[in-house]
Structures are given as C-alpha cells and as structure tokens.
C-alpha cells in the first residue's frame, strides 16, 4: 500500500471535494491499485526525452483588439444559482 487514507484526505481538500468515510476508504484502495499500475512507467529511462508538444504550426494566435462577442449579461446570468441584478451573488467570503 503506497497511498494512505491521510493522503486521500489531503488530495480531497486540494480538489475541494467532500468525501464520505466510505468514499474515502473505497478511493484509497482504488487509487492505490491504479497508481501501482502507473508505476510501470518507472521502468523506462526518459532522462533524454523532451516533454510532449503538439506540433501545431500556429505562428500567431493574435488578432486585432476588437470586441467580437458583445457580452449579454442576462444570458450569462440566466444560469446563476443566485443573482442580484447584473451580479453573481455568492456566499460571504470575509467575516
């Protein structure tokens, strides 16, 4: 076992995921088996291999600085869980 329950809890906090105790123990076992499978990569010497890169020859993705999509506040806010006129309303951040 490489992966501990504590590290699963730490990763869940980083990922902003609440996990039940059952989920935690199930994930610990599953992730441990998956990570053990991934360890097969360690058998390969990659010291002189460069990082992957798609060879897409876009010399420049720059364009003229002109408004191309006029923002439509109502359409953008239509899916908001809570709104206040033209603002997204979110839970209190500062006590």
């Amino acid at each position: 076992m490489k992966l501990t329950r504590e590290s699963v809890q730490r990763v869940a906090t980083l990922a902003r995921l609440r996990l039940t105790s059952d989920e935690e123990s199930e994930l610990t076992g599953q992730l441990d088996r998956i990570l053990a499978y991934m360890d097969k990569l360690n058998g390969l010497d990659t010291a002189n291999v460069e990082l992957f890169n798609h060879d897409i020859d876009n010399l420049s993705a720059l364009r003229e600085d002109k408004v191309a999509n006029q923002p439509n506040a109502d359409a953008l806010l239509a899916n908001a869980p809570e709104r206040d006129e033209t603002f997204f309303k979110v839970p209190k951040i500062i006590e």
């Binding site: 990763v11 902003r16 995921l17 609440r18 998956i34 990569l41 390969l44 992957f52 798609h54 876009n58």
Partner: protein, 485 residues
C-alpha cells in the same frame, strides 16, 4: 420505406430531388425515437419543436438553394457535451443540472449554417469519462444489438442512436476512444479527426490536449461529409489548425492499390477476444486482396499508453473541472461558508467516476508527485508519438482492432475501474499522439455483437483513412446490417 434508416447521402439526394421533405424525414426520426427509445435510452433531451421548425426552414431553403449543403434538412443527434443555444446541456452530470447554454459550440454553428436539423442531445458517461455510458448521472444507454449490453462510451448515446436509426447521423467527442469504441460496439462508423482539425470551442472540456469532435455515422461517406462540414480553423480555438480542409468525400474511390498498411504486432495480444482477432485479420486480408501492401510494424511503447493516458487525462480534467464550484452556474449546495459550499456542491454534483478522476488528477499534479507522475507521463507521451512518426515513415496508414472485446454486459466492469480503463488500450495512443483514426464494422462475434476495425492515419491525413475505410466497406456488407428492435 423507413426514412429514419437513410444515410446522410441518400437522405440528401432524396431531399434535393424533392422526393421527400425535411419535415417528413424529421417526423420519421421522431416516430422512430418514440417507438424505440424506451428500450435504448439514447437521448437525454429531445428538441422536437425547434427541430420541426428547422426542418420547415430547410424545406424552404431546399426550394431556393441551387447548391445546398449535403446536411441541409438532415436530422442529426448531438452528444450532450456540446453547447447548444436554447437546448439544455447536461454533460450527463447533476452538477450542470438544467444548464441552458448562452451560445453554440463552433461545430454546432457550422451544422446550423449548413441547415442540419438538431434532433436532441444524447447520453454519455458523465463529462465523457468512461467506456460504457454507464457513468451517466441519469440512466445507462443500452446497446441496440443486445439491450443487456453497453453501447460503449463515452459517446454511447450517439452511437446507439445512429445504430437504432433514431437519427441520420450524430456528433460525438473522443478523448481516449469515446467516438471509436462506441462506434465499434454499436456496428457503426466513428471518426476521430486529427487534434486541431475541428474546433473544440463550446464543447465541455475534459482533457484539452486530447479532446476532439467527430462524426458517428451509418457509413464512411457520411462520416466524410460530416467532417467536411465541421472542420477548419476557428479563431475561438487557438489549437485549431490552419490546415486546408479537403473535400474528403472526393477521396472515396474504393482504390487501395499500392497503399502501404502497417499492422502493429503489439496490438494482437493475449486477452483479446479470439473472434475479434479473427475478424480483424480477415479484414486485413480483404484489404490485401484489394491491392494494399501489408507490413508488420512495431509500436514499442504501446504497453505504456494506458498509464500515460490516465495520468495526463485526469490531470487535465482535475484542472478543467475546477470551474464547477457552484458560483456562476450549475448546482450550488446550501452550506455555512464559501469553502464548504465548494466542497458540498462538488460532492453532491459529481458522480463516482468523475470524483475518482479528479482525485487521481489532483494527486499526480500535487507537490512531490508532479515530476514522478505528470512530467514522466509527458515524456513517455513523446515516445509514443515518436513510435507513430517512425512507423509512418514506411506505411501510409495503420490497421488494428478498435477494442479488445465486443460490447460487454451492463454492470460487468463498473466495480473495477482499472479493468474498464484497459478496454481503451487500442484507442488511447492515437489521442496521445494527436492522430486521426476511424472505426468501422468488420464482422460479428458468436453472440451477434459487432466488431470494429480501426484505421489510423498520419496527422491531417483523414483522406487516406477515409479512402482505406471506404475501400473495405465497399468490399463487404457489414455496414448494411441493422439491429432488430
């Protein structure tokens, strides 16, 4: 005659000759859905009213337009991870709920401009994560050839809808095989274009360095016609490529004489269903009889592909899915403070497989593990791409099975994520390398389940992939078989 069973090219011809109207055709498709979707469950959302309106508009255009697009008036199904203005987009996740997109994906805009009719949105594994369509938060889709079996995934709803004649053709997305493996499972044609060939703007991001949009269709010509309509540079997607888009349907001449086809020895391994190997070997002999030159090749890093893929894909997914925080759209839980709102909204909104992948991706990107997993995988990904570069120095296309087995039973692999991941062994290397690949039917197993043949091409050489597939299709009858429902 059942109009819903038509191909795109046949329907288009009948529409142009005014033998049928788009309204009749669209109505036939909805009748077929009404008669069969309580068994198949391919659709999450039907857009009947807007579809009938689009059909009426198409009929008007058909009488005025001298050079109509082959998609004008043709009813298509769309995987529910494309943003469709005015039609709910769920990604088969509870976290998106009844999300109503304020804009269309570029590929959808192109379909609308061509005059296609959008029938509805099809089921998928939540956020396109899965190989069986069982990870949908709503319900599993059933394989039209055998309702106890999976349709493949993640574009399982699109593939099942095409196989069941619940649309004329469909769009899917493919990050690790999500177009090709369900196409193989459902006995239809699925094409994943070269990375950069089709704009990703407006598809819900899963793994941005591999996601690609492509067609699922009843035959190879239809796949070519759909690709022509959606491909091309898009200013809204900086990874879309500046390559000129050929008229792919023109390259379908049935001729493979002198074409050099590579067969990778690493793709014929123990654990594959014997009937799959037999069917694929027979398909290769068929292409040889048609004049192709067959050569055994080696892709030596094949065995590392699943490990690399599930590091890179989950890393990208964990980052892409950070946006589902319950603030601007989607599900928001009632909680005491901001952090808890994030954590509970995401717990309630995401399903088990999505959580597993977010956890795995967060782990491989976290301090202390980033070099050992993420950077290591990015280096091995280079080796996998170089394997293909070397192979393509002496062959024009590569022929393999699409999946190691035919469609398995619903529930069979759901408890064992690693086993599920291994059903992608023949498709994921192609996404890692960014290549185009197509799956088409090449036979059936003893249980009557379809088998898929995969044809892989060089970057931006969809023309050779389609030409090879078309030559095989013309020499066989598999694509004409349909399930009885």
């Amino acid at each position: 005659m059942n109009l819903a069973a038509l191909t795109v090219h046949d329907a288009s011809e009948k529409l142009r000759r005014r033998e049928i109207s788009s309204v009749e055709l669209t109505d036939a498709v909805f009748q077929r859905i009404a008669a069969t979707d309580d068994k198949v469950h391919a659709y999450l959302t039907l857009a009947r009213d807007s579809a009938m309106e689009q059909a009426k508009q198409a009929d008007l255009r058909l009488s005025n337009d001298a050079q109509p697009s082959p998609l004008l008036g043709v009813p298509l199904a769309i995987k529910d991870n494309f943003l469709t203005r005015g039609v709910r987009t769920t990604c088969a996740s509870k976290i998106l709920g009844d999300f109503m997109p304020p804009y269309d994906a570029t590929s959808i805009t192109k379909l609308r401009d061509a005059g296609a009719v959008i029938v509805g949105k099809t089921n998928l594994d939540e956020f396109a994560m899965g190989s069986s369509a069982e990870n949908s938060a709503f319900f599993p889709t059933h394989n039209p050839w055998n309702l106890e079996r999976i349709p493949g995934g993640s574009s399982g709803g699109s593939a099942a809808a095409v196989a069941a004649d619940q649309c004329i053709a469909a769009l899917g997305t493919d990050t690790g095989g999500s177009i090709r493996q369900p196409a193989a499972c459902c006995g239809v044609v699925g094409l994943k274009p070269t990375y950069g060939r089709v704009s990703r703007y407006g598809i819900v991001a899963f793994a941005s360095s591999m996601d690609q949009v492509g067609p699922i269709a009843k035959d190879v010509r239809d796949a070519a016609l759909l690709l022509e309509s959606i491909a091309g540079k898009d200013p809204a997607d900086s990874t879309s490529a500046n390559h000129s888009v050929a008229k792919f349907s023109d390259s379908l001449n049935g001729d493979v004489k002198g074409l050099r086809l590579g067969v990778p020895k690493e793709y014929f391994v123990s654990g594959m269903q014997p009937e799959v190997e037999q069917a694929v070997r027979a398909a290769i002999r068929q292409l040889e009889n048609n004049g192709a030159k067959i050569e055994e090749i080696s892709l030596p890093h094949t065995e590392y592909a699943v490990a690399v893929y599930y590091i890179v894909a989950t890393a990208e997914a964990s980052s892409n899915l950070a946006r589902y925080d319950g603030m601007r759209f989607g599900h928001r839980a009632d909680a005491k403070d901001l952090t808890e709102t994030y954590m509970i909204s995401r717990d309630e909104g995401f399903g088990a497989e999505v959580k597993r992948r977010i956890m795995l991706g967060t782990y491989v990107l976290s301090a202390g593990y980033y070099d050992a997993y993420y950077l290591k995988a990015q280096r091995v990904r280079t080796l996998i791409k170089k394997d293909f570069d070397a192979a393509f120095k002496h062959c024009d296309a590569i022929v393999t099975p699409t999946a190691p087995t035919t469609a398995f039973k619903i529930g069979e692999k759901i408890a064992d994520p690693l086993q599920m991941y291994l059903s992608d062994i023949y498709t994921i290397s192609i996404n890692l390398a960014g290549l185009p690949a197509l799956s088409l039917p090449c036979g059936f197993d003893g249980e009557g389940m379809p088998i898929g043949l995969q044809i892989i091409g060089k970057h931006f050489d969809e023309a050779t992939v389609l030409r090879t597939a078309y030559a095989y299709e013309q020499a066989t009858q598999w694509h004409l078989k349909r399930p009885s429902l």
